[in-house]
């Protein structure tokens, strides 16, 4: 009964699968904001800003909050 999936995976052990799964979830649930992730967010924010006037205003209100985060993402250091 065990044949099917053991054959499908070949030489890979559950340990390999476990590591892969763990890396996937680690990335998925990460709360950090590295540059790559920040850049991925940009198109969404631009889309939001162009949706209407009040959305743009709200986003601009957020800008001062965002600057230190951008800085941190670029330099990779946490600002004190």
């Amino acid at each position: 009964m065990a044949d099917n999936f053991l054959e499908a995976y070949g030489k890979e052990t559950s340990r390999d699968v476990g590591t892969r799964t763990m890396n996937y979830f680690r990335e998925l649930f990460s709360l950090e904001m590295p540059l790559g992730r920040m850049m991925k967010m940009m198109p969404g924010m631009i889309k939001f800003a162009t949706a209407s006037k009040d959305t743009r205003e709200d986003l601009f209100k957020f800008m001062p909050q965002m600057m230190p985060m951008m800085k941190q993402a670029f330099t990779g250091k946490k600002e004190e």
Partner: protein
Amino acid sequence: MLEQVKDWDDDFYEKFKPIAMGFVNEAEKCLQCGKCTGQCPAAAVTPSYNPRKIIRDLVNGNLKRVLSSVELWQCFFCSGCFSVCPMDINFPFFVFMFRLAAMNEGYGWEDVKQLEGYAEKDYLRKGITVSTFERNPEVVETIGDISKIRMEAGLPPERKVSDRGLAEINMISDLSGMTSFMKKIGGVELLDCKTCNDEQAKRCKTKPLPSKVGKIKTKLRFYNYGEPGGKAHAEA
């Protein structure tokens, strides 16, 4: 081929618990008492589905078996197992998390593909997951015009989410990675009867699964926890 215990990732569960943000916990307390399976609606219709065995495999770290199984996709999400569990193991959350893991391994995309419309056409475009359009192909008869009934009931003819609301959920979708996730699902190629030509029909007979998901190769799933049963299977 026999299963090798040395293959198992025995400390997977311990390492995974802190990452899973509290959704996956308490399984180490499992008594293997079978109370969950005793009341499970899915187990009552197909004998191979068994929450107890899946929990056992997750704690043991036999991930290959869990992730490549069809059984992982047969859960009804009814929370009945959680409601009777003497150790408060919230098994539906396990299923939810490990379905994601299985998708990462390339399993189950064809199931998810069938639900794509709910997210793409309804949730993101209209803000409402279930629209007036019937997405369940099995429903034989529907009530034609719901807007008339809505008006009779004193409601506006159509429930509309404001543009602002739509812009906001679309931004959430973009920022949280849902959009890129949806793109992956969009890459799944399902052989569709509407556009099916002879060559595809032939392929469909021998290889009924989508061939690839973007860059991920979609894999076949197996009944890893026993032979399937149920009424439908008996007929086939």
